[in-house]
């Protein structure tokens, strides 16, 4: 007389499938968690891009009014855009915001400037079979120019006699 569970343990139906599943499981978990890691990375890169773009646009339009003080607002815009990303709400990992020319000094209409933002991911990235946990640094660089509206005026109408 065998109890039901002894019967179940001796039952070999589906054994190959089960073992195969057990072998594939770690690979599946790696792929799923790996894609999550990549998604997080892309999401942060996207926020960094959006923030830098907003800042560049702000400088483009407001530099002639506010002068180099636009930097303060531009910095705040980048930080805000990063904080808006739930993944970065605690520590944004923002390393530096560099402006070229230095301090955005003396820019004339339609002159180019550059913003370079550097962000170090605030979490360690775990790569399987790699003993070290590398910290990934993302860099975003954008070049823009001081916008001053259309520079060409309409041709003056020639008076008709």
């Amino acid at each position: 007389m065998m109890t039901w569970w002894r019967k179940w343990l001796r039952d070999q139906r589906g054994a190959v499938d089960l073992i195969q599943f057990a072998l594939i499981l770690p690979i599946m978990i790696l792929i799923i968690f790996g894609s999550y890691e990549i998604w997080r990375l892309v999401s942060v890169k996207q926020s960094l891009y959006a923030g830098t773009y907003q800042a560049a646009r702000y400088i483009s339009l407001n530099y002639l009014i506010e002068g180099p003080a636009v930097q303060t607002v531009a910095d705040a815009m980048i930080v805000q855009e990063l904080t808006n990303n739930a993944l970065l709400s605690g520590d944004t990992g923002l390393q530096s915001i560099e402006y070229t020319p230095e301090g955005l000094a003396g820019l004339r209409p339609y002159q180019f400037f550059r913003i370079r933002t550097t962000l170090r991911l605030p979490w360690p990235v775990i790569i399987p079979f790699l003993p070290t946990r590398p910290s990934i640094t993302l860099v975003e660089q954008q070049t823009s120019y001081i916008e001053a509206g259309p520079t060409r005026s309409l041709p003056t109408p020639t008076p008709t006699p």
């Binding site: 339609y110 180019f112 550059r114 860099v139 660089q141 954008q142 070049t143 823009s144 120019y145 916008e147 001053a148 509206g149 259309p150 520079t151 060409r152 005026s153 309409l154 041709p155």
Partner: protein
């Protein structure tokens, strides 16, 4: 020998070995595609900026063309992938042409483009690296981006 050939144990291992190159090609291929898309994105950003620049800055005797070209060039060089390749000594083959609304090639500037006149900026970039395609000879991918604008004169 005959016994070894008939032995079917370890067939999963053979299957794995046969699939490994396919798997590697898929993964490395995805990286190559991603690299091209990243550069395409930068080219688009640059072409957009150049078009906007020409829309607003179209002064007589200006070097608007050089500026527009440089906007596209810097947008590409702001991409780490392109910057690295150029640093390695690869050429950056960027070609920018401008068309009027009839599709004729023009030089930007008010001598040809009047107020409100639509124009098109077309940038073509030959990748600064060679893409290896399995079973094909290696190719140099060329990408292009086109953007339309019109000369704004403000009124």
């Amino acid at each position: 020998m005959a016994a070894w050939l008939k032995d079917q144990r370890g067939s999963t291992l053979i299957q794995f070995i046969l699939l490994l190159p396919v798997f590697l090609i898929v993964v490395l291929g995805a990286v190559e595609v991603w690299k091209v898309l990243a550069v395409k994105q930068s080219l688009h950003a640059g072409t957009y900026q150049a078009t906007r620049y020409l829309t607003l800055y179209n002064e007589l005797g200006s070097n608007a063309e050089t500026d527009a070209f440089n906007l596209i060039r810097t947008a590409l060089l702001n991409n780490g992938l392109v910057a690295d390749a150029v640093q390695r000594g690869e050429p950056l083959n960027l070609r920018v042409v401008y068309y009027d609304r009839f599709g004729r090639q023009v030089e930007p500037g008010p001598t040809i483009l009047d107020c409100d006149e639509p124009f098109t900026v077309r940038a073509t970039l030959s990748m600064p690296w060679i893409t290896i395609v399995p079973w094909l000879s290696s190719i140099r991918v060329t990408i292009g981006d086109e953007h339309q604008g019109h000369v704004e004169c403000g009124r």
